[in-house]
C-alpha cells in the first residue's frame, strides 16, 4: 500500500519530467527535424502538390497545435503509422525493441557482472599488484573508442583477415544457435567497452564500502573474504549499483546500442530511431520519445522501490 501510494505520488511528480522530455525532443526532432516533403512529392511536383504534402505531414500547423496533437497521441497511446513505411508504430516497436534487448542484454549483463567481479577482486587486493593490473587495464579499456573496438572485433573475429568465425554483419536469427552466432561479436565489443568504466565505478563503490565500520566489524568477527565481499560489501553497495544499472535500462530499451546496430546492420530500435530522426519519420520519433520519458519516470520509481528493498533504512516518503 505504501508502495502503491508512493508510486502514484511519484507518477504525478514525474509529469514535469515527461513534459520536459517530450517538449525538448518534440521541438528538436519533430518541429525542427528533417523535412520529408521532397521525398514524397515525386520528380516534377507542382506547388500545390508540395503544399498538399506539407499539410498532410502537418508542417503547416503551428508549434502549439502540433505539440498538443502530440500530447493527445501520448494520452491515447496512438501514434499511428510510420510516415516512411506505413508500418504501425506499435508493430515497429514490437519488432525492434526485442531485437535490441536480445542484442544488448548479454553484453550489458556480462559487462556488469564481470565489472563487479573484477572490482571486487581489485578492491579486496587494494593497492596490490592485482588491483593495479585490473585498474590499469580499466584505464586502457576506457581509452579505446567504442567504434575502434567494434571495427577491431569485426576484423579479428569476422573477417578473412582474422579468425572468420562469426558473421560480418546482419541479424538473421531463427534459432538459439543463430542467435549465439550473431550476438557473439557485438557482445564481445559491448563487454570490452563497458568493462573499464564498470570496473572503475564499482571498485570505487566497493573500496568506499570496505572502509565502513561495519565491514571492519565483520572482519573482526572472522568473516572470510568471499562472504565478506559478496554479502557484506556487495549488499551494502547495491544502491549505487542499482542506480547505475536502472538508469541504463531506458537507454537500452530505447536506443539499444545505436552504434552496434548501425555497424552490424541489426534492425533494432536504436537504428530504427536513428533512421526515423534522419528521415523525419515523426510518428516513430514521437512514440520513441514518449516511451523514453515514461520509462525514465518508471525507472525513477522502481529505483526507489528497489532502494527500499535492499536498504531497510530507506523509506518511501
Amino acid at each position: 500500500m505504501e508502495t502503491l501510494q508512493y508510486t502514484l505520488r511519484k507518477l504525478i511528480t514525474g509529469l514535469p519530467l515527461l513534459f520536459g522530455v517530450t517538449l525538448i525532443s518534440f521541438a528538436l526532432m519533430v518541429y525542427f527535424g528533417p523535412d520529408l516533403t521532397y521525398e514524397l512529392v515525386g520528380k516534377n511536383p507542382t506547388q500545390e502538390q508540395i503544399e498538399r504534402v506539407q499539410s498532410e505531414l502537418g508542417y503547416d500547423q503551428n508549434f502549439l497545435v502540433r505539440y498538443l496533437d502530440y500530447v493527445r497521441e501520448i494520452v491515447t497511446l496512438d501514434f499511428g503509422q510510420s510516415f516512411s513505411t506505413g508500418e504501425p508504430v506499435a508493430d515497429l516497436l514490437a519488432r525492434t525493441v526485442p531485437v535490441s534487448l536480445a542484442l544488448t542484454l548479454p553484453g550489458f549483463i556480462l559487462g556488469n557482472l564481470l565489472g563487479i567481479l573484477l572490482a571486487q577482486i581489485a578492491a579486496w587486493n587494494r593497492s596490490g599488484w592485482l588491483d593495479k593490473l585490473i585498474m590499469g587495464g580499466a584505464v586502457v579499456g576506457m581509452s579505446i573508442s567504442f567504434l575502434v573496438v567494434i571495427i577491431a572485433a569485426q576484423v579479428i573475429f569476422s573477417s578473412s583477415y582474422g579468425l572468420n568465425w562469426f558473421p560480418v554483419r546482419g541479424w538473421s536469427v531463427y534459432s538459439l544457435a543463430d542467435y549465439l552466432y550473431h550476438v557473439a561479436v557485438p557482445t564481445l565489443a559491448l563487454v570490452f567497452v563497458s568493462l573499464g568504466y564498470n570496473t572503475r565505478f564499482y571498485r570505487a563503490v566497493f573500496v568506499e564500502e570496505m572502509s565502513r565500520d561495519h565491514i571492519r566489524t565483520a572482519r573482526a568477527y572472522g568473516t572470510p573474504p568471499i562472504p565478506l565481499m559478496l554479502r557484506d560489501v556487495l549488499k551494502n553497495s547495491l544502491i549505487p549499483i542499482i542506480t547505475r544499472i536502472m538508469f541504463s535500462i531506458p537507454m537500452i530499451i530505447v536506443s539499444g546500442s545505436l552504434l552496434i546496430e548501425s555497424y552490424f546492420g541489426i534492425p533494432g530500435v536504436g537504428k530504427a530511431t536513428f533512421d526515423a530522426i534522419t528521415t523525419g519519420d515523426q510518428p516513430v520519433l514521437k512514440a520513441v520519445v514518449s516511451l523514453t520519458a515514461v520509462l525514465f519516470v518508471l525507472v525513477l520509481i522502481i529505483n526507489d522501490i528497489l532502494y527500499k528493498w535492499v536498504d531497510p533504512r530507506v523509506s518511501l516518503k
Binding site: T85, E87, P98, A102, L103, P167, R169, G170, F264, T278
Partner: protein, 615 residues
Amino acid sequence: MNSTRPHILFSGLAVIAMVLAGCSDPASRGDPDQKVYRHSMDGSATSVDPVQASTVYANFMVNNAYDTLYRYKYLERPYALTPNLARDMPEISDDGLTYTFRLRPGVHYVDDEAFPDGQGREVVASDLVFSLMRHFDPEQLSQGAWLWQGRIEGLNDWGEEAAEARDAGEQPDYDAEIPGLQALDDHTLQIRLTRPYPQLTYTLAQGFSALVPPEAVDHHGRRGLQRHAVGSGPFQLVSFTPQRAVFVANEDFRDDPVDLEYEGYDEEVHGEFGLEAIDGRSPPFIDRLEIDQIEETSARWNSFTAGNEIQYSTVPAEQAESVLTSTDPVEVDARYADDYFWRASPEAGFVYMNFNLDDPAIGYHEDPDQDRANHALRCAIRKAFDWESRNDRFYQGLGDVYPGVIPPMVDGFNPDFPDDSIRRDMDAARALLEEHGWTEDNLPEIQYGAVSSVTDRQMFEQFRGWLEELGFPGDKVRMRTFANFGDLNRAIRQGQIMSFNIGWGLDFPDAENTLQLYYGPNEAPGSNSANMKNDEFDRLYDESAVMQPGPDRNEIYNRMNEIIVDECANISALTRTRIEMWHQDLIMQPDREILGGFFVRFVDLIDDGQGGEPE
C-alpha cells in the same frame, strides 16, 4: 533473504523470453517441396502502393503484385515494350492524341476481403481510369502524378475538384467523367491527350500505372495499401515489412506461355543460364517469392555466399577487389564463377554533377561579360574533373563514362558524340580561366552540397583536390553538409545549392526522360535542378516531345545534348555497372533496374527434389 531466488529465476526466464522474442519468425522457411526463390535487394521499399512506386524497390514489389498494361521484354536490350495486361500495343490516332487500349478479358484480381464476397473480380478498364485518377487525388499522396501532369484532357481539372472536395472534408467524385480518360467498355480504354506524348505507353509500364481496384482503396485505405496489395500480378503479397516481403504464386494468373525468342533470347548472351527450360510454359514458375531487403552490403553478401539463404545479390563495392580479376572486360574470380552465375549489368540511369545556373556566382548573370566568365569557369571546372579517377576510386573502374545526358541504353545515344567534355585537360582549363580574367583572388567560393557520409565527403575532397590543382585556394571550395538526403534534396529543389552530385534513374528508356532534366519549365522545384533555361533547348524539347521515335527525333535529341554540353551546365555522366550474382540452381536472368523488375515471373528453379547445386 529466501525471497531472492524466485526473483532471480523470474528475471532469468524474462531474459530468455526476450531473447527468443528477438528471434525473427522462422515460419517463413516454407515447405521443402515448394520452389522458393529468395531474392535480395540493396534497399527497402517503403510502400507497395502503386501511387508511391517511385523507387526501384517499390516498383519491384508493385510489378509482381499488380498488373500494368505493358511491360518490358524479359531479355531484349535495349529495353523493348510488350503488352502485359493489354492485348496488344495501343491504337494511336494520326494526330497522336487519342490512344485506345484493349485489355485481356478474364483476368481476375486475387481474392481479398476488400471484395464483397471475398473473391477477386475481373479486372476491367475502369480500374485503370480509377488508378490514374488516384494520382490526382491529393489525399493519395501520389509520387507519380508528374508523369501525366497536364497531359490527359480533363484529368488536371478533376484533380483540382478533388482537392476542393478534400479541403471540404468530402470524398472526391471518382465517378465523374473525364473527357480524356474513359473506359469505353470493360475491356477498352481510351486516353485523349492535350498534346502528343509518345512516352505515354512507357508510363503505362511503370508501377505508377498499375491497376488497383477501387474496392481495395475503399476497404484498406491509403495507409493499408502501403503494406497490403490487391492486384492481378503473377504473385500475391502475403506479408510485407521494410525488411522482408513474401509472395506466393498467383494460382489464377492468366495463361500466357513464354515465347523465348520473342522475349529476346540470344544463345550467345543467355546460353549458359539454362533459360530454354521455360520456353512455352506459362509463368509464374516458382511457388514462393521471398525478398529480403538488406541495405547492409556485407550482411547481404554473407547471406548470399552462405549458400542456403538469399540466392541473388549484387556484389558489394568493398568485395569487388576480391571478386573481380579484371574490370575491363569484367572477369570474375573462379572461386565465385564456379559456384554462381554472374552478369555485369549497367544501371538504367547515371550519376552526374550539376551547377545551379540560377546562382549568379557561377551561373547566369545579367552582365554579359560576367555571364561569359561564369560560363568559362564552369567549363574549366568540367575540364578539371577527372572522370577516370572518379570511376577508378569510387566505382571500381566499372563505370561507363560518356558525354551529355543520353545514356547508352536508350535509343538516341550517339556513340560519336565528341568526348572532350569528359576528358581531363588541365592546361586548357587553366588557359580558359586566364582568358576570362579569373585569378586566385576573384574566383568565387564554390559551394558543394552533399549528405554527411564518408563517401560523399571523399567525393567532395577529391573534387576539391582537382579544383586546387586548377588554382582554387582550398578554402574557396566548401562543402555544405546535410544530415540526410531529404534536407539536401529540399535545398536543391529550392535552388540553394551551387553544385552537387546527383543521380537519375530512368523511368522509361527514352532520352526524353533525361533531357527533361534541363527543360526550363522543369526548373526548381522540378527535376531541372541545374535550373538551365536555354530558349533553343526548350524549343527543341517542345518540338521533340510530340514526335514519335525515329531518326528525326534522335537528331533533335543530339542537338539538345550538345546544348547541355555547350552550356557547361553540368559534368556528366557515368553509368554505374553492378555485378549481379545468383545461385546456379536458378533459371533466370535477373535485372535490378526499374525497367527490368518484371523478370521474377520468368524465374524457375532446377527441380532435383533436393534443391541442391546442379552439375
